[in-house]
């Protein structure tokens, strides 16, 4: 494996994401190549430094409360829509009367 190919895999190697045979090749290459070994140390240092930005604590939120409030609001909205629908249905003429209503409209148009 060339240095380029090894270097492209160093992060996967550090993450232990490489298949065992590839990891062995990288391991052997790094043991004998100062440039790749130095780069691997730098990548390891980046990881160590990046951990300085570990989350102390995510902001304490009460997502549950907010969601339940939203769910409650939606339930109320659904209930109110159902009521409106019931009123509209009550006001609508019976299906038996619909042909007469249609005929009346046609007569008016003609």
């Amino acid at each position: 494996m060339t240095c380029n190919a090894v270097q492209e895999r160093l992060n996967a190697f550090l993450d232990q994401e490489l298949p065992r045979d590839q990891a062995r090749v990288i391991d052997a290459h790094v043991a004998g190549c100062a440039a790749c070994a130095a780069l691997m140390e730098e990548y390891a240092a980046v990881r160590s430094i990046a951990s300085a930005w570990e989350a102390e604590a995510a902001p304490e939120i009460d997502a549950l409360q907010a969601i339940w409030t939203e769910v409650q609001a939606l339930r109320e909205e659904v209930a109110s829509l159902r009521q409106e629908l019931a009123v509209l249905r009550a006001e609508r003429p019976s299906p038996l009367l619909r042909p007469y209503a249609a005929r009346t409209v046609l007569t008016r148009v003609v």
Binding site: L10, Y43, A52, A55, E56, A58, I67
Partner: protein, 173 residues
């Protein structure tokens, strides 16, 4: 367990990691909280069924990532308040000078991570901070695992260049 209790558990277990993840992607913790709440709300309505706790975690992170990406695509870069980069900070020392140095380093890392392209940033945050494996990240971001590996490599390479002064100090320790 009924749907409501199962959902309560889901929120309790996952809300903090999800907010932490979204805050790292978006910078603004208020928007991150809104996005996590929206994700939970959509899940509550969709009532998905999960085969394992791993799949729940992947599903939740995917939902939050999708919402973050939608948000980012509608936000100009200038709108991101970089000064809030330290909202997620390292555990702090009680000694003022050490605390100050830790804070500067945490801010430098936060700024460097947040200037990564979105696709690389998501991979780096999921892998480094949330501890996901490449195959899980591939499921969250809906891309091949090979793409995850190359994005992680590009992200670390970019961070290496941006954080060079700190790396020298790390090496001399």
């Amino acid at each position: 367990m009924d749907h409501a209790s199962a959902f309560d558990n889901l929120v309790r277990i996952h809300q903090r990691p999800l907010v932490r993840f979204a805050t790292r992607l978006l910078t603004n913790p208020d928007v991150a909280e809104d996005i996590v709440q929206e994700a939970f709300f959509r899940i509550w309505r969709a009532k998905p069924t999960f085969v394992s706790s791993d799949s729940v975690r992947v599903y939740l992170f995917r939902a939050v990532h999708n919402l973050c990406r939608d948000h980012l695509s509608g936000v100009r870069h200038n709108d991101i308040p970089i000064e809030r980069a330290s909202d997620l900070a390292a555990p702090r020392s009680t000694q003022p000078e050490i605390r100050c140095e830790q804070q500067i380093l945490a801010d430098a890392v936060a700024a460097a991570v947040r200037t990564l392209p979105e696709a690389q940033r998501a991979v780096f945050v999921l892998s480094h901070y949330e501890g996901f494996r490449y195959d899980e990240i591939a499921m969250i971001l809906q891309c091949p695992a090979g793409t995850v590996a190359s994005r992680k490599h590009l992200a670390v390479e970019t961070l290496r260049r941006r954080l060079r002064p700190w790396i020298s100090r790390e090496d001399s320790k």
